[in-house]
Symmetry: C2
C-alpha cells in the first residue's frame, strides 16, 4: 500500500509540494495563507501513530510551514499576526496538520477557521504565485 | 524572569501538573477531557520560538497528553473517538497547546471546540478524580 492523500482534500485544496515527510497542500481560500501537511505514511489517524523519528520530522516541518505561511502572507501584502496550527481530523480522518496565517482583520478573528463557511478561492494569478513560492521553498531535511 | 502561566488561564482551567517542559492544566469543562500544555519558558508565542530540543520535547508531551486524555475519557465512562490538538493563541498569546478528547456525540462534533459557548464546570468529585489521574501520570522524560 502506498501513500495517497484522501480524495476529500481535493475539494478545497491544491497539491503544492512533497517534503521529506509531508505532502503539502495550499488551501484554496483567499482569506488566509493556509497550508495542510499530510505525512506521507499509510493508515495514520493520530499524531501518536507516527514513529518517534517521524514525529520529530513533523514538528520541524510544521515550524517550516509556519515560516512559509508568513512568507505567503507577505507576498499577498497582508502580513500575519498569528499562526494557528492544528491536527483535528473530525471530518477527514487521515492525519494532517493545518498551518493557517491569521490577521486581526481576517473576518473570523479570534475564532478558529474550521467548520465556518465563507471560503473564497484564490484569484488565479495569486494562486499561481503562491504555488510557485511553495515549490521554491526549501523544506527542513 | 521566571515562567508563570498567563492569568487568563485561571478563568477556565485548573493547574494539574508540571511536566519536564510543560505546565499542564485541566480545562474546567465537563463536556470534554481537555488538557492545556504551556511550555515553561518565558516570552514564547509561536511553536517556532522554542529551541529545537524543546520542540522535540513538546511533541512527545503532546503525544503523552493524548494518551492521558484518552485515559481521562475512559475514567468518565466516555471513550474518545478523536484527539484534537491545536496551538492557536488568538485570545491568549502565551504559547500553549490544547489536547482535546472528542466524541461524535459531544454536542459540537465535528466543529472545533474553541470560541463556542456552553462550557460546564466538572462536577467536584469528577474534577478531583481527573486531577488525581493527571497527578499520577508519568510524563515522558
Amino acid at each position: 500500500m502506498t501513500f495517497a492523500p484522501d480524495p476529500a482534500f481535493e475539494a478545497g485544496s491544491l497539491a503544492a509540494a512533497d517534503w521529506p515527510l509531508s505532502h503539502v497542500r495550499l488551501q484554496d481560500d483567499g482569506r488566509f495563507p493556509w497550508l495542510i501537511l499530510i505525512p506521507r505514511r499509510v493508515a495514520l489517524v493520530e499524531i501518536g501513530d507516527l514513529s518517534a523519528a517521524d514525529r520529530a520530522r513533523l514538528m520541524e516541518e510544521v515550524v517550516a510551514a509556519g515560516a512559509l505561511v508568513r512568507a505567503l502572507g507577505g507576498a499577498t501584502g497582508r502580513s500575519i499576526d498569528k499562526l494557528n496550527t492544528a491536527a483535528l481530523g473530525n471530518v477527514t480522518a487521515q492525519l494532517h496538520v493545518h498551518v493557517v496565517g491569521r490577521r486581526r482583520d481576517d473576518g473570523l478573528w479570534p475564532d478558529p477557521v474550521w467548520g465556518r463557511p465563507g471560503a473564497r478561492p484564490w484569484p488565479q494569478a495569486e494562486r499561481r504565485r503562491l504555488l510557485d513560492l511553495i515549490a521554491g521553498f526549501s523544506p527542513p531535511v
